[in-house]
């Protein structure tokens, strides 16, 4: 794993080979293979403890796999995580926002961690606030926001560095149907050729949004396929069977 492959030669946004996350006898990931083309939208399903969150944390470079290969956006994630970090964004069910800072201050803070400062950052923050329809509340503390507004602000936070890969960790939890719909609309607006990976319990929503679907159990891929080539009912059966297995 020396220098990163030029982007043109990397059709895959994510390439994982035999990914393992192990400590002692426990394997959170057990030889997972995964390929996702650039611009794709992958939904990850599976029972609790199947390793979904572990996989997402490794894609976010918050945790290191203990074995296997992982290339993200054509760069070796194990060799050069710092190069990649500025090209990845994460939206979680936790807002990752400071309740006592205003919306604008929150975005400015995270922007400066990515080296964005001054008027350029200010312009980008304004743009993002308009995009998530929070420009009228820019100077209010994040604590005063509803759950849905916080989630929208955390989309803006995750996009502050203009990521090529956006990770979504259970983004719907705690959102009411209206807020969830708004969230979907926003995600559709910011697709823009970015690659998305989402972990969700909501099979219907997840299946509608995605181009690729992955079912995990016991740290392995039960199935990973393009949604266009998959029968929806059979996929649901398989998902239910996997969740019902009770061994994960």
């Amino acid at each position: 794993m020396s220098s990163p492959v030029p982007e043109s030669a990397a059709p895959f946004a994510i390439e994982a080979r035999g990914l393992v996350k192990q400590f002692g006898g426990r394997r959170a990931l057990d030889g997972l293979d995964l390929e996702l083309p650039q611009g794709g939208f992958l939904s990850i399903f599976g029972p609790n403890g199947a390793g979904k969150t572990t996989l997402l944390r490794e894609l976010a470079l918050l945790a290191r796999p203990t074995g296997g290969e992982l290339r993200i956006l054509g760069v070796d994630a194990l060799e050069e995580p710092d190069v990649l970090r500025s090209r990845i964004g994460l939206i979680s069910h936790k807002s990752m926002l400071y309740g006592d800072l205003t919306a604008r201050e929150n975005l400015a803070f995270f922007a400066s961690l990515y080296g964005l400062e001054g008027p350029e950052a200010g312009a980008r923050i304004d743009e993002l606030l308009r995009l998530v329809e929070l420009d009228h509340r820019a100077n209010d503390c994040a604590r005063t926001f509803s759950r849905g507004m916080q989630q929208r602000l955390s989309i803006a936070r995750a996009l502050i560095n203009d990521p090529e890969l956006v990770l979504l960790d259970e983004p719907y939890s705690g959102l009411d149907p209206h807020a969830a719909e708004l969230f979907d609309r926003l995600i559709a607006r910011v697709r823009d050729g970015r690659t998305f990976v989402m972990v969700s319990h909501d099979l219907e929503k997840g299946f509608d949004l995605c181009t690729h679907a992955l079912i995990m159990a016991r740290g392995r891929a039960v199935v990973c396929a393009e949604t266009a080539k998959i029968d929806r009912a059979a996929f649901r059966d398989l998902y239910l069977a996997t969740v019902g297995m009770g061994v994960a």
Binding site: L113, R157, D162
Partner: protein, 249 residues
């Protein structure tokens, strides 16, 4: 490097810069200070707590009539006050970071983990010093107002500064590890007090000498201060180096 075309969302592309560590440090520090000035959570609770400790001292020393006697162990009392107050503050220093997983948000960015440590240790140092600015004069008013203090008294500022640096440095590492544990308040005390003991020992000695102003004892003052400073250098360096392992990786 910014990948494919953009534009549909109306958000421009961003040039990928290598962020400077100093700018990140400044941003982290400014964020902590701004937040604390807005809520004053840590400062208020520490100051109120120190008042309570002073009240207990009042009861404990009620039978000691002679101010001179108090002077002879005032250094120890002062440091006990500082250690207990600091423990409370250190426990709180990560409450904002964990409230909605903000710490993860920081770690997502291309930031050196040592910068996170330095910024947090600096903000803790600032807040501890601010609290000392209130509690140390109060201590003097309550317990030493009648005593004849030697002209060397202002020299206690040196051990106060050196000691607080060590407390903030070691405390930042230990409180990071204690964040997500069961019973974290007690755990931080269990980890922190034995680790900080040598520093406390040296600082009490230096403070005591300055308060008593004994002729010819100043060799002891400087030696204690030098030892406390040596502790700071070694332990802060160790905490700095080990910090990345205290964060999830």
């Amino acid at each position: 490097m910014a990948g494919t075309h953009r534009g549909k969302s109306g958000v421009d592309r961003v040039e990928r810069l290598r962020p400077s560590a100093f700018a990140q440090y400044r941003a982290l520090l400014a964020k902590d200070v701004r937040q604390e000035l807005r809520t004053r959570e840590m400062l208020t609770s520490m100051i109120v707590y120190s008042l309570l400790v002073l009240t207990i001292y009042g009861a404990a020393l009620a039978q000691v009539g002679d101010k001179l006697q108090v002077v002879s162990f005032a250094g120890g009392l002062l440091w006990a006050l500082i250690v207990f107050t600091s423990l409370l503050g250190l426990n709180r220093s990560f409450s904002h970071e964990t409230e909605s997983s903000c710490l993860e948000g920081i770690l997502l960015a291309p930031i050196d983990r040592a910068v996170v440590f330095l910024a947090k240790a600096t903000s803790n140092l600032l807040f501890l010093l601010m609290v000392e600015l209130v509690t140390v004069p109060l201590f003097f008013v309550f317990f030493l107002s009648g005593a004849e203090l030697p002209p060397t008294t202002p020299m206690i500022l040196l051990p106060l500064l050196v000691g607080t640096i060590g407390v903030a440095g070691v405390g930042t590492l230990l409180s990071t590890m204690a964040i997500d544990t069961r019973g974290r308040d007690v755990l931080l005390a269990i980890l922190f007090i034995p680790v900080a003991f040598p520093l406390l020992y040296a600082c009490v000695s230096a403070t005591g000498v300055a308060l008593m102003g004994v002729e010819g004892a100043f060799a002891t003052f400087w030696r204690s201060l030098a030892l406390a400073a040596a502790y700071d250098v070694v332990m802060v360096a160790a905490a700095w180096g080990l910090y990345e392992f205290a964060l999830d990786s």
